[in-house]
Symmetry: C2
Subunit: 243 residues, 2 copies
Amino acid sequence: MKLVKAGVLLIGDELLSGRTQDTNLATIATFLGALGVSVGEARVLPDDADTITQTVRAFSEQFDYVFTTGGIGPTHDDITADCIASAFGLGISEREDALESLRQRYTDDELNAARRRMARIPDGASLIANPVSQAPGFQTQNVFTLAGVPQIMRGMLADIGHRIEGGAKTYQISVTCTGIGEGDAAAPLAALEAIHPSVSIGSYPFFNDELRGVSFVARGQDEVQLNRVKTALNALVDSLTQG
Amino acid sequence: MKLVKAGVLLIGDELLSGRTQDTNLATIATFLGALGVSVGEARVLPDDADTITQTVRAFSEQFDYVFTTGGIGPTHDDITADCIASAFGLGISEREDALESLRQRYTDDELNAARRRMARIPDGASLIANPVSQAPGFQTQNVFTLAGVPQIMRGMLADIGHRIEGGAKTYQISVTCTGIGEGDAAAPLAALEAIHPSVSIGSYPFFNDELRGVSFVARGQDEVQLNRVKTALNALVDSLTQG
């Protein structure tokens, strides 16, 4: 089975100023991993139309799927929908089905010009349901445009899975061990990866006041090879901690 | 005063798989903000030498400063130092001062070939002290190469500030308000930003079971303008919540 790759664009000045801690990348990566899609690259972009438009276009060509988060709310700095339209040379206008969705949440009085902006959808896009706050996301070709607020973004993922043609699922095993350093295991780890080229092995040290240790994480599409690596990692940890 | 911009490269497969939640971007952005440097873009890159090398080169040209995190440990997937050398066409070799730093932490027995890799530094780079685990970071031209483990990365920032020529400091004010939605404020917010073009205003909705509301955040270099915006935002919130 082929590998399927996605690119992720996290849009918003607040992510670059340090004000807001992104959590959407990890949520999307975990969601896609279960579908056999791996994230190849992510970018955090400012609220700048040219940057967003050019990057959407480039990512749409480079990756099988693209996910954007942020910039589809009612305010003047919410420019993602216009950038997506521009990236694909599409028009954009208020859509009745999107407006209908907003009417589930807002009274006619509340549905002012600003909120109606959330019904502006690039031509030909299909809506992505928003069970949390009703303003829809949308899919344009291979690009999924989602909200930035994590609760809403997660809600939208429920309407995505059936649109994804996944690839070879990546499995992951991990072996964690305290009392040794990363450097103790580096040479045998490299040897192990050389024997099992289909498996990628990473080591992640952790530190705190009480404890130091390493987590070894192996990922790959071949479960048989992965289980062999797990056995070898356990043996390696035994030999290092008894040494 | 001129605006000074930085680019940030977060390196590591584990950030793209969903295994590890990055927190380094927000730490670096907050640190730089206090020095009058704003982050213009961040990318999360896989452990792929070509991608890292090309992106370092492009970011070094595009931004005043570049920060990389991750990939400078002792294992086979730690390739950042080689990529930095390659990006600038520099040689790379084991350096005595870096080795000396490692000797503060490791006995001769512990300082195996894998750990000695952490003393490989691109030619001409200056070391960045690591008070947590002694394996140094390094500065190559305008690129600062730091560890990925957040505790270690934060420790290295202490040896960075004096190397940065900051620009106009960006100030930030925020006004938070419950019981209204983002769309209620969108039109007056756009008007406010039009009157104060030097100030950038964002609105960030929040939701939970009990509460909904919006935080308005204004950022700019001109404190006088910024205080006028704060007064106007408070008046706006009063009018919306009393309405």
